[in-house]
Amino acid sequence: MSMVSIGDLSQQFISSRTTTRIKSDLARLSAELSSGKKADVTAHLSGDTRAYSAMSQSLARTDAFITVAKEVSITFAAVQLSLDRIDTLRETGANDLVLLNGSSSEPQITSGAAKAKEQFSDMIAVLNGSTSGKYHFSGTAVATQPLPDAGDMITDILGTIADPSDPAIVTQAVQDWFSTGGGYDTLNSGNSMARDTIIGPNGRSARNDVSALSDEVREVLAATALGAVVEAIGGSLAVSDRGALLQTSGAGLVGAAQGVAALQSRIGFQEARVETTLAELGASRTSLAMSLNETELSDPFEVATRLEATQRQLELHFATTAKLSRLSLADYI
């Protein structure tokens, strides 16, 4: 009796394998639907995940660059504001002092000298400005106030003047004091190091190299200080000499306009670069995020459709299994 028969176990085996397979598909699809992400991105990319990894890393770095670039632009804005203020003071001083000369009256000269002293004091205050404890004009020594009190500086300058009655000596002493190596350098607690901040990939950086020790700042301070020194010397100088010196101070302030403008344009240039970089970083961030989403996220509609189909398949499979198990010769004998 060689009949072809099919063992019972083979039917059960196939049936249980199928149930397991459909159920694991169901589990995977519902996980994908609820998390919104593909279950296995690596398999989706066939294992070549280098570009995807590079994109995630770029995104993290871009976010950090955006934060830093914003911080740097705030600092630059504060420095630019201070330079504007210094320029205003310079212009006011220039307008006031240039009108005086050796033949002006004493009251005019005295009031001019007093204004010069105040302007010098104001300029020092602007240069000593800070935001949240960080000084703008100290170079990299940001926790240290760059300049001492205006009065102390004038006293120090007076100390270097051998003969306060000689206008030539006074002029030269002020010039020397503000030159490199003079008393200004000694009393300055900051430094002239440039502050470089990396704000973008490939080493793109913003540079803040304006400090109280910059040549242009020295120039405008020297011009103002001359007026303040004249006020401090007072009666030791002849009235006509005082008038002449105040006029020289005014002329110096007019001449220093170019320097201050140069500083403002340097900072302005850096500000513009930071703005451009921020715009580029923003665009780059958006496109990176979009590409990452495209790779990682699953399409909810497609997954929902497949889930429906799998559910139906499982129901059909259960119905078939039930029907087949009821078909047995034993029921009919």
Binding site: T49, V142, L329
Partner: protein, 475 residues
């Protein structure tokens, strides 16, 4: 005489019918038994009766042998897949933040942020935090790889023990079958049991079955090592208590499989026993996992060297931000470096270092101006500059190297997944075909009906002959 011959013929028919009923009921009772071969009674025809030639087992030896080989392949692929999946998790799947790549990205972001505000102690402390987390992640990856090697070693020991036990049982069953057959009994159940024992060890080593006379078998691995021929082979294996990165078979730190004290293969420790789960575990322990460890070590060395480069930190005297347990890197010997990576204590205030060294360099004599971001910028560049791993290869940034390693592991895993699903499909197909030769309860019931009929007919014949004899007696 005619009538008594008919009686004995009818009796033999009855006997055969009842024996067939016994076989059929045995079959139906064993419908759910895996490894049970469908039995039938072999009967002949002679004048004067029905001789039965014993119980026949219906098997398809070719299918069974193929299925056992597929079992070994499936087991090996499963082992390999599990290992590769774990390694992918350890190194980090693409896109996850809790991975070596994620921690490296966090450290780079912290560097960028600190460069924007170098006077902030908070941001410098953040650098310490993120860099030591990176070092920790690399350390734990290394120790987890060694733990996987430990698991592989333990599973080799288990498999060898199972193999020995299985071979012993098969040898025992061989002897029992001979004994039972010599006594004239039916040894089908023992043969089934022997088949089940072979199924028990077919996943360890791929088996080739050699028929010896009288229902005896010998076992051999498909690569040619005799496992059982009359006498079972006994294999030995010494598991290691703890496995470190520098312990290998070649160095003598780990053992291979031996038989009667002689190694089966001094080169790879397994020789001609490979192809099943035993081979996969051995390959994992001695080949694949040490490769991953080497790749991790190379990445760690490359990272250390970036920080030790004088163009990145001019003040350093050889020690960089990351140390080899306090020492500088040694390109000639960096096995297990990934497990020894530490943050340089001189930048960590908790370990007695100074935060300002982040700004001024590791070997700086004194703290400099607190707004100076130049050294922080140089460390950023150090991480992005393209250098090659020790041993050559494409120069990449540090992030590029780890992404490359992750991509390689991901590709290996997806390929192994495909291999596994193929092996599973093949195994399923063969198993189903083999089970199709099993007991079909509908067929058995049908046969039972026929046996019932035959029994009834034979009984009727006996009744008729009996009544004929009675009639004879009444004369």
């Amino acid at each position: 005489m005619g009538i008594s011959t008919s009686l004995s013929t009818a009796l033999s028919g009855l006997n055969v019918a009842s024996r067939m009923a016994e076989v059929t009921s045995n079959n139906i009772a064993n419908t759910l038994t895996e490894g049970y071969a469908r039995r039938s009674l072999a009967i002949g025809s002679t004048w004067g009766g029905v001789p039965s030639f014993g119980v026949q087992r219906h098997v398809s030896p070719g299918l069974t042998a193929d299925r056992r080989l597929a079992d070994a392949q499936l087991s090996a692929d499963q082992g390999r897949m599990a290992m590769l999946t774990r390694v992918e998790d350890i190194i980090g799947a693409a896109g996850s933040t809790d991975s070596i790549a994620g921690r490296l990205a966090a450290f780079e972001s912290a560097l960028i942020s600190a460069s924007g505000e170098p006077s902030s102690d908070l941001r410098l402390m953040q650098l310490n935090g993120t860099l030591s987390e990176l070092a920790d992640e690399i350390n734990s990856a290394s120790s987890e790889i060694q733990a996987l090697r430990q698991n592989a070693d333990a599973s080799i020991a288990q498999d060898v023990a199972r193999l020995n036990a299985g071979l012993g049982m098969i040898a025992q069953l061989n002897a029992d079958i001979t004994r039972v057959q010599t006594a004239g009994q039916d040894a089908s159940n023992l043969i089934d049991a022997r088949g089940q024992a072979m199924d028990g060890i077919s996943d360890i080593v791929p088996l080739r079955i050699l028929q010896r006379g009288g229902d005896q078998i010998a076992l051999m691995s498909t690569s040619g090592m005799i496992l059982l021929d009359g006498v079972p082979s006994e294999f030995e294996f010494q598991p290691a208590n703890v496995i470190a990165a520098d312990m290998t078979l070649a160095s003598g730190g780990l053992s291979g499989i031996t038989r009667d004290g002689m190694p089966v293969d001094p080169g790879d420790g397994i020789g001609r026993l490979m192809g099943g789960s035993l081979g996969a575990a051995m390959a994992a322990r001695d080949d694949e996992l040490p490769t991953v460890q080497d790749q991790l070590d190379a990445f760690a060395l490359n990272l250390m060297q970036r920080f030790e480069d004088p163009s990145v930190d001019p003040t350093t005297a050889g020690l960089g931000l990351l140390t080899d347990a306090g020492n500088p890197s040694d390109p000639s010997d960096f096995v297990g470096l990934a497990g020894r990576l530490r943050l340089n204590a001189s930048v960590d205030p908790v370990q007695g270092g100074d935060l300002w060294r982040w700004r001024d360099g590791l070997g700086a004599a004194a703290a400099g101006p607190i707004g100076n971001a130049n050294q922080l910028n140089r460390w950023q560049e150090g991480l992005s500059m393209a250098t090659a791993l020790p041993g050559g290869g494409t120069p990449r940034s540090s992030a590029g190297h780890i992404a490359s390693l992750m991509a390689e592991r991901g590709t290996l895993r997806t390929i192994a997944e495909q291999d596994l699903s193929f092996a599973r499909a093949r195994m399923d197909g063969l198993e189903q075909a083999e089970l199709a030769h099993g007991v079909d309860s509908d067929q058995e019931l049908q046969r039972l009906l026929q046996i019932e009929q035959a029994y009834a007919a034979n009984a009727r014949v006996i009744q008729t002959i009996n009544s004929m004899m009675q009639q004879l007696m009444e004369i």
